[in-house]
């Protein structure tokens, strides 16, 4: 497996091998699926749309509906305006969304289609919306695309001077529906009314009912997006993913924001809870305190299996930081932290985490790839790899257990229903990590060392 990866590391300036990121539009598509009655639309060649739908479906095992401007060579020469116009008409005719959320592609970006102008120029049926964001594939990553789509919704819909509505705007970060449900549970427990944008719960984890719904029950309501300007505050979860959109909302409507890491592990969840509490001024209810206490209990229980264990973590920047933060809380050493997404903020935040826990000799890298990660591992092995499906070849090549967390996980099921955030999510992470390490011990130790009690 991966037999051609040399141990010796040489500098690479041009070739990315086995990337740890993909392109913007897929993130925009995912974000747009988190708005109720909204159809994501890919303005480019139809292959983009096909690839992104395929990819999201593989991760969520649920339909990911989106349309395309279906560029041909002609459109590439003369611009995609007429394709978009036709598309919008056909979509409203046939698929009856309340909104079409357009994102661009490297094709339409390179051509230079002016989406603002094209949309202004359109006949949009009454009560319907067409919004857009620019997602050039040659900048940032799928995470950037997610952010840009969220910002796009705000730019088009949120209004300044909206009546205060006593709600908090939560920007969830690039997480699973299970996580979004967990946020809602926590906000609800703390009696904080929220609008979460986007909210893919109920969409990408929709139940089997025997009836296909193109627009399932879930998703942020368009009316709620329109009223975001009336929110007390924005809680932007995942600094790299959510802060830019929170800033857009602040600039546009004056809603102040607080930006914080994804609530993964103890401290990040504590901070999220306290942020909510500041708003509601409610006591943290016992059920949440109890969950928290159970988590701490578990962490102390399992520390002999986690403490000092080296882990390689790869994936999206905020997710990697969240996992690393919890790993550190478990006494683990996040030996390698890699994201493919560019951004110095990742490395700064990662290093700050390491410093806070007094952990040395670890590497944090943005714009990295899995080829490099594998080379590092060949040079100094780790006890565990945490990341998406693409880590499995490294895991097998080096005989290291892989715990699947983050995006994309395309070779397992059910994960997207299960939060990694909040205390409950941390319990899951703890179980996945501890069980992986213990399974490894059980299968790799000598027979005489098989333990009945652990």
């Amino acid at each position: 497996m991966l037999d051609y990866t040399p141990k010796e590391i040489t500098e690479r300036k041009a070739i990315v091998i086995n990337p740890a990121k993909t392109c913007q539009p897929v993130g925009a598509m995912y974000a747009a699926l988190g708005v109720h009655n909204c159809l994501p639309h890919s303005h480019g060649s139809q292959g983009c749309c096909a690839f992104h739908r395929m990819f999201l479906t593989r991760h969520f095992k649920d339909p990911a509906m989106a349309s395309s401007s279906s560029f041909t060579e002609g459109a590439s020469v003369f611009g995609g305006g007429s394709n978009l116009k036709t598309a919008v008409k056909n979509i409203f005719d046939l698929y009856h969304p309340e909104m079409i959320a357009v994102h661009t592609t490297c094709l339409s970006e390179t051509i230079g289609d002016d989406l603002n102008a094209l949309i202004i120029d359109m006949d949009i049926p009454d009560g319907k919306y067409v919004v857009h964001c620019n997602t050039p594939s040659y900048k940032g990553s799928h995470v950037t695309g997610f952010t840009n789509m969220v910002s796009g919704f705000i730019k088009y819909l949120a209004k300044k001077g909206t009546e205060p509505n006593g709600k908090v705007c939560i920007m969830p970060g690039f997480v699973n529906p299970g996580d979004m449900r967990e946020y809602k549970k926590l906000a609800n427990a703390l009696k904080v009314p929220i609008t979460m944008l986007p909210d893919t719960s109920g969409v990408m984890d929709s139940p089997m009912t025997g009836k296909y719904e193109m627009y399932p029950k879930g998703g942020t309501l368009i009316d709620d997006i329109k009223e975001l300007g009336g929110c007390i505050k924005t809680v932007a979860l995942g600094v790299q993913t959510s802060e830019p959109s929170a800033e857009v909302l602040r600039k546009q409507c004056g809603v102040e924001y607080v930006s914080m890491p994804l609530p993964m592990g103890v401290e990040a969840t504590d901070n999220f809870i306290m942020e909510l509490q500041k708003i509601s001024k409610e006591e943290v209810p016992y059920e949440i305190e109890e969950e928290r206490g159970q988590l701490i209990d578990i962490m102390i229980d399992i520390h002999p299996y986690t403490y000092g264990k080296k882990v390689a973590i790869f994936g999206d920047p905020d997710t990697v930081l969240g996992i690393a933060s919890f790993a550190l809380e478990l006494g683990m050493i996040p030996k390698y932290m890699v994201t493919g997404t560019p951004g110095a903020a990742f490395e700064t935040a990662g290093k700050a985490l390491l410093e806070k826990f007094g952990v040395e000799d670890c590497t944090v890298k943005a714009e990295g790839d899995l080829f490099l990660l594998h080379q590092w591992i060949k040079n100094e092995k780790v006890d565990l790899i945490i990341g998406g499906t693409h880590g499995k070849t490294i895991a097998r090549a080096e005989d290291i257990p892989l715990v699947r967390m983050g995006f994309p996980i395309i070779d397992r099921y059910i994960h997207s229903y299960m939060p990694l955030t909040g205390y409950r999510g941390a319990m899951r992470m703890a179980e996945l990590i501890a069980s992986a390490l213990m399974d490894y011990q059980d299968s790799h130790c000598e027979e005489k060392d098989v333990e009945v009690v652990m």
Partner: protein, 537 residues
């Protein structure tokens, strides 16, 4: 009959109706079954089609294991086509020559904004240098994605440079996503370069008397290995496979084989055609999907070579393979007989699998192709009638000449006529229509809307398609199986593959979960006698 078709189409706006009515037909409705195919998808209509890049890099080139394929473009296209198409492959040695397997690797130039603005050729060159330095491939392919064509990077010049600089084979493929109307354009582009730069460049001769290339077999789920195994049992040497677990090492010797077997007509017929022109090699359309198809294909090969000993060996292999699966096939047939299916896949599978379904007594009520041309539906006889349009004209069509060194005539016209009489047609594909039942619906470029509507009316037991529409069907309570990826099962080719296929269908149809879709309280009023109430809740 037509009412089904009309019920769906009439919901369209007139403009869309006008377009789609040519793509949707009911078999037998008109005197001649004619379909419009290989035309643009309508913007906004949710098509399942992919792009030229997907057809070139994803389908045809991707499986070539010993070529390091550098995707020149932003990161996404490389990422999505990385290890996800189940064209299995393994490094191996053949005739003392090793073929590495790079399929676990994804190479991308990850173009950034500055590359778009200032051009990406330099970066591409550097990327090649780095790949050569790291893994020392004997062959590099460069595949371009959308922006590359627009900004004008000359990837062919780069390929030429690399070939000289590193003394390796390096070929560029201008397969930008916007070219053509579907993956089909990409197949053509890939085929062109293979014939131009690889086939005919090797000189290793087959060891056996009867040798073939298997064309259009991508080894999804190990299909190709199953086919190779059977051919080998029959004593037939496989020189090269296009392209499942195939290699630059083998493809360069393809011209040394005696016959081309074409499995997927759509994606590879260009190669078959051009090899006929250049090397004189005949091709026959085979289909190793389905028991009867498989038998017919093997026997056709026997007939083509006309060797009694070979034919006897083929019969023995058939008998043996059939014996081994008979009980299982019977069992699965008993569970599957009378079911109905809809198929919407690629450019050949929707045809091939109808035959396998027939083996189990399943009839097809709807079939469609994602990226086929009219000949895939109607048979090659229609080719002269196909008018090129603006989109197809943009895809280079190359002419080859008889190779002075290698051109041979394998068969006289007489021999061919004799063969035809035995039902073996040379250099011919009959298309999907001919075997289909009256009234079955044909949908070229079936889109999401039509899928939903036709499924509601036709209610097939099984919907065969890809990952994008799989869960749409499933959510509506219908078994859905992916025929691109086989839902990570397989092989489905050959005799043993038929059993796997039967097993998977039975498992899907009979899995108990279907019976729990409706919550029981939806039916049962919750009246409790003892509490005396009459109110339902």
């Amino acid at each position: 009959m037509s009412s089904v078709r009309e019920k769906v189409l009439e919901q369209y706006s007139s403009r869309v109706y006008k377009n789609r009515k040519e793509h949707v037909i009911a078999i037998g409705e008109h005197e001649k079954d004619v379909v419009t195919a290989n035309t643009r998808a309508i913007p906004g209509i949710i098509t399942q089609r992919g792009c030229c890049f997907a057809g070139c890099k994803g389908v045809v080139l991707g499986p070539i294991k010993d070529a390091a394929i550098i995707v020149h473009g932003p990161i996404g296209c490389a990422y999505y086509s990385w290890g996800t198409r189940r064209h299995k492959a393994v490094a191996d040695e053949k005739n003392g020559e090793k073929a590495d397997c790079y399929l676990e690797y994804c190479f991308s130039t990850d173009m950034q904004e500055s590359d778009i603005v200032f051009g990406g050729e330099k970066k591409l060159k550097k990327a090649i240098e780095e790949v050569v330095g790291l893994i020392h491939p004997k062959c590099i392919f460069i595949c371009s994605t959308c922006p590359v064509g627009l900004i004008g990077d000359d990837i062919h010049a780069v390929a030429k440079w690399a070939q000289e600089e590193y003394e390796i084979k390096c070929i560029a493929f201008s397969c930008e996503g916007y070219k053509g109307v579907s993956q089909s354009a990409g197949h053509h582009i890939a085929n062109n370069q293979l014939i131009r730069y690889i086939i005919g460049t090797g000189d290793h001769q087959p060891e056996k008397k009867y040798s073939v290339n298997v064309l259009g077999e991508y080894n999804i789920g190990g299909d190709g290995w199953e086919v190779e195994k059977i051919l080998k049992r029959c004593g037939i040497e496989v020189v090269s496979v296009f392209t499942g677990s195939g290699s630059y090492r083998d493809i360069k010797n393809a011209h040394t084989a005696s016959l081309n077997l074409v499995q997927c007509h759509r994606s590879i017929n260009y190669v078959a055609d051009m090899m006929k022109d250049k090397y004189g090699m005949d091709w026959i359309k085979v289909n190793f999907i389905g028991i009867e198809s498989c038998k017919k294909s093997l026997r056709d090969i026997g007939e083509y070579f006309g060797d009694e000993e070979l034919k006897a060996r083929i019969e023995a292999v058939i008998a043996d393979e059939e014996d081994a699966i008979r009980d299982e096939v019977e069992y699965y047939e008993s569970k599957l007989k009378g079911k109905t299916a809809a198929l919407y896949v690629g450019g050949s599978r929707s045809h091939h699998y109808q035959l396998l379904l027939k083996d189990f007594g399943i009839s097809t009520v709807l079939a469609g192709y994602e990226f086929a041309h009219r000949d895939d539906y109607e048979g090659r006889e229609v080719i002269p009638d196909i008018k090129p349009d603006a989109d197809s004209k943009n895809i280079e069509s190359i002419e080859v000449e008889a190779d002075p060194k290698f051109y041979r005539v394998y068969m006289t016209d007489e021999q061919k006529a004799a063969l035809e009489e035995k039902g073996v047609k040379i250099n011919y594909y009959e298309g999907m229509f001919k075997g289909m039942d009256e009234g079955a619906i044909i949908c070229d470029d079936l889109n999401h809307f039509e899928t939903e509507e036709f499924m509601k009316i036709l209610k097939p037991d099984i919907f065969f398609s890809g990952i994008k529409d799989k869960f749409v069907a499933q959510k509506s309570g219908m078994l859905s199986r992916q025929l691109h990826s086989y839902d990570y099962s397989g092989p489905y080719a050959g005799f043993r593959g038929a059993v796997n296929f039967g097993r998977d269908l039975v498992m899907g149809l009979y899995t108990p979960a279907w019976s729990y879709v409706k919550a029981p309280w939806k039916d049962t009023p919750c009246i409790e006698g003892t509490l005396g109430g009459d109110e339902a809740c």
